[in-house]
């Protein structure tokens, strides 16, 4: 879309997404930040400004996803990424399940339901993603 894959590399040690690998990548990042700041400084109605911010961030996220899809990855890097993502998922699952456990405990004590439906939804989405991936992989190879 806007950025080129060879301007960036995958973020490995500080979360997910991209980090600039060339000066063009840094220019892209600076331009994106400048554009967002510029639109936020415009003398326009607040709801228009917020809408503009969401549109820009949405376009940026789409572009990052597109760049990440195009970044080359060999078999060793693919294995490393798969293992790192699996471990990250296990850590997230542990935190979510601990959260549900805590909320269930509070619910039982206070005799009111205080379980966050967003956590349940996140777990169900994860279950669906795993099932779909396994179905796809079983058919593919």
């Amino acid at each position: 879309m806007l950025g080129k894959a060879h301007w960036f590399k995958r973020r490995k040690y500080t979360g997910w997404g991209l980090v600039p690998a060339t000066w063009q990548g840094w220019v892209y990042l600076a331009a994106a930040i400048a554009l967002i700041m510029l639109t936020q400084a415009l003398p326009i109605a607040e709801n228009v400004r917020i809408t503009l911010l969401f549109i820009l961030v949405f376009i940026l996220i789409l572009d990052v996803v597109d760049i990440m899809r195009k970044l080359p990855m060999d078999e060793r890097e693919r294995i490393h990424e798969a293992l790192a993502e699996r471990n990250a998922l296990w850590a997230i699952l542990t935190a979510l399940i601990a959260g549900i456990g805590w909320q269930a405990y509070i619910s039982a004590i206070s005799k009111t339901v205080q379980i966050d439906p967003l956590i349940i939804t996140a777990l169900l989405v994860g279950v669906a993603a795993k099932a779909i991936t396994n179905l796809y992989l079983d058919r593919k190879n």
Binding site: D74, E75, R76, E77
Partner: protein, 63 residues
């Protein structure tokens, strides 16, 4: 799995970067292979064997 990639590569006078590019992998993967820290797939072993101008995979890799 052991290999003699460094010797064959030096014999041909090519760098790790050249080998990586011709085999379609990152230089880090070639470094890991040369240090016997990574076991390649059959496809990668085949590609490296070809780049190093060897006839059989066993000429480059051994168990």
């Amino acid at each position: 799995m052991k290999n003699n990639i460094p010797q064959l590569r030096k014999k041909l006078g090519i760098t790790q970067e050249d080998l990586a590019e011709k085999a379609g992998v990152a230089r880090q993967t070639i470094i890991a292979l040369e240090q016997n820290r990574y076991n390649p797939s059959l496809a990668l072993a085949h590609a490296i064997t070809q780049v190093l101008k060897q006839k059989r995979i066993e000429d480059v890799f051994e168990l």
